[in-house]
Amino acid sequence: MRHAFTIGGTDIEVWLARDGTGHRLSGDAGTARVDLVPAGDGAYTLFVDGLSQPVLLAIDGEDLHIHIAGRTHGLRHLDPTRRFADAGSVGGGDVARAPMPGTVVRVDVAAGQAVVIGDALVVIESMKLETTIRAWHDGVVTSVHVAQGQSFDRDASLVTVTAGG
């Protein structure tokens, strides 16, 4: 099965096949004989077509943090089933997501409430600045994902407003 990873903002498809004692990688990033040998405490040796280099690796759920050649990179594994579900969903435009990490100062709406464009939904604080998140279309608040005082990460869902209603 093809698997995809987000690398540097781009989705890259890869697939792996057994090749003797190692593996053969192919896909958008290129083709090579590859192997990854653990060296203890998150350290590995990566072999690409016989050339080796040290790697530091930490995995947190779908997120992979890789330090290689003096740089740290953040990658995300895109689960094949979820990718399919996301592609078929029409709800993506209904969720207000956090533009950056912060804290909820105030929640101005409740689930079930009708809102029109421009209505204040939540007030968040990031980098010592308060920002009001407003309704971007008319509709009904179907879900408030955060509570006052709660802190959130970037991209966290804040409020879902279903269009129409």
Binding site: I7, V14, L16, L25, I59, H67, D153
Partner: protein, 493 residues
């Protein structure tokens, strides 16, 4: 027995600076007590302190700003002195007074010096009064009838500021002097609107200035020495990112002049303990900007070239000891650079990032110092300042120091939260930085530096290989022999 009149020091701070203070205090034989909010559980500073006193607050920041709670904790722990670090209560004169009133030593200047330098208009007037350079200016209150005339005489470009202002509100830059009267009228109306006060002052606007500051140290007997300058021109949104000493912009004569000026200002103020006099430097001319009455974030570059431990000097002065060295004893050797590692995304407008420290590898070696406030397992949130660590390098000269800085950055790895490490490496490799052709607006004027460069094909292939080989689902699909990945182990996906 300790040579100090106190044997227990309370550190009223957190993060890297708390750990840095604890290290010196322990070396001097002092018992160390740290106040710590629950958000900082598991920090390296709390592991290093002899005793940790919990402090509470609506937020972590509120707890570290709670003077009464901290003084009470100090008294309960038997502390005889409090080091405030930087930020939080470090420049709070009322706190310094309360510490003294509670019978403890405040590791910092006198409350009067904090008051004087904390009031920016008063500090500026004090410095000008003693004959030291401030930016040419005209203050409306001095003689309202001649204000516009006096402003004109300063010459373009000008910065018009509300007297009651702050935060940049109501400030206007005037480059075309025929518009001066109109700009003054608009600034006045904005001043009235924002601050209920329409009075103005005008000062010469310095285009593309450099930020140069001088470390000073004074003791109770009135001895004041300077420990040379630091250049901190590489900033984003008025926040320093890279600091170095010596400044590559100064001639030896200019260096002597700016450093002597700083020491003179400190002497005039009867300054005691460590402080920093900040200047705007522009084509050979320099003007007093402000004085910070505390230890600075960037103090390690001064320590690297002088070999003087500034925290030790602070503690000795607070204990009533003389400095123990004179100006001629201060010798600087080589070049030092500090890089501030922030939890932030340069390519997304330097917005903060969050995460958890899953792995942490720090650079080591000759001429490399790391002041770090985080440990493996700790969460990085937006509750506090996003600075995670400082990499400080020392080289024979500036080129050597830059080479070491880039090596130290490559050896530094924090997995679990995006940092500005890649951006710092781009700064170190930039031709403008190599020739020191920088100013405080340099980063804002070069957004390309903040952009994440495209991955080269080799790195992309290597990353794809690591990702594929370490993701269980991908390997499972490829591996016909299930025993294999079991023998390699460690796949968490």
């Amino acid at each position: 027995m300790s040579r100090f009149p106190f044997d227990t020091l309370l550190v009223a701070n957190r993060g890297e600076i708390a750990l840095r203070i604890i290290r010196t205090a322990r070396r001097l034989g002092l018992r160390t007590v740290l106040v710590s909010h629950a958000d900082d559980a598991g920090s390296p500073a709390s592991a290093a302190a002899d005793q940790v006193m919990a402090i509470a607050g609506r937020t972590g920041v509120a707890a570290y700003l709670d003077a009464d709670q901290i003084i009470a904790a100090a008294q309960r722990s038997g502390a005889c002195a409090i080091h405030p670090g930087y930020g939080f209560l470090s420049e709070n004169a009322a706190f310094a007074r309360a510490v003294a009133a509670a019978g403890m030593a405040f590791v910092g200047p006198t409350p009067d010096a904090i008051d004087l330098m904390g009031d920016k208009v008063r500090a500026r007037a004090f410095v000008a009064q003693h004959g030291f350079p401030v930016a040419p200016s005209a203050i409306e209150d001095d003689d309202p009838a001649t204000f516009v005339e006096r402003a004109h005489a300063l010459g373009a470009p000008l910065l018009v500021k509300p007297s009651a202002g702050g935060g940049g509100k109501g400030m206007r830059i005037v480059r075309d002097m025929t518009l001066l009267a109109r700009e003054i009228a608009q600034a006045r109306s904005e001043g009235e609107r924002y601050f209920g006060d329409g009075r103005l002052y005008v000062e010469r606007f310095i285009e593309q200035p450099r930020h140069i500051e001088v470390q000073v140290l004074g003791d109770a007997s009135g001895t004041v020495v300077h420990l040379g300058e630091r250049e901190c021109s590489v900033q984003r949104r008025f926040q320093k990112i890279v600091e170095e000493t010596p400044s590559p912009a100064l001639s030896p004569a200019q260096r002597a002049q700016i450093c002597e000026t700083a020491a003179g200002i400190a002497r005039a103020a009867g300054y005691r303990n460590a402080g920093t006099v900040e200047f705007i430097f522009d084509n050979g001319a320099f003007y007093f900007l402000e004085m910070n009455t505390r230890l600075q974030v960037e103090h390690p570059v001064t320590e690297m070239v002088t070999g003087i431990d500034l925290v030790e000097a602070q503690l000795r002065v607070a204990a009533g000891e003389p400095l123990g060295f004179a100006q001629d004893d201060v010798q600087a050797c080589g070049h030092a650079i500090e890089l501030r590692l922030y939890a932030e995304s340069p390519s997304r407008g330097f917005t903060p990032t969050t995460g958890r420290v899953l792995a942490l590898r720090l650079p080591e070696g000759d001429g490399v110092r790391v002041d770090v406030g985080i440990a493996r397992g700790q969460r990085i949130t937006t509750a506090f300042d996003p600075m995670l660590a400082k990499l400080i390098v020392h080289g024979a000269d500036r080129t050597d120091a830059i080479t070491r800085a880039r090596q130290a950055l490559a050896d530094f790895a924090l997995l679990g939260c995006e940092t500005n490490a890649g951006f710092l490496d781009r700064l170190m490799g930039d031709p403008d930085f190599a020739t020191a052709a920088v100013h405080t607006g340099w980063i804002d004027a070069h957004p390309d530096l903040a952009a994440e460069p495209d991955l080269d094909p080799r790195t992309r292939l290597a990353l794809a290989a690591v990702a594929a080989l370490s993701t269980r689902a991908v390997r499972d699909a490829a591996d016909a022999v299930p025993r294999l990945h079991a023998s390699i182990g460690g796949w968490r996906n």
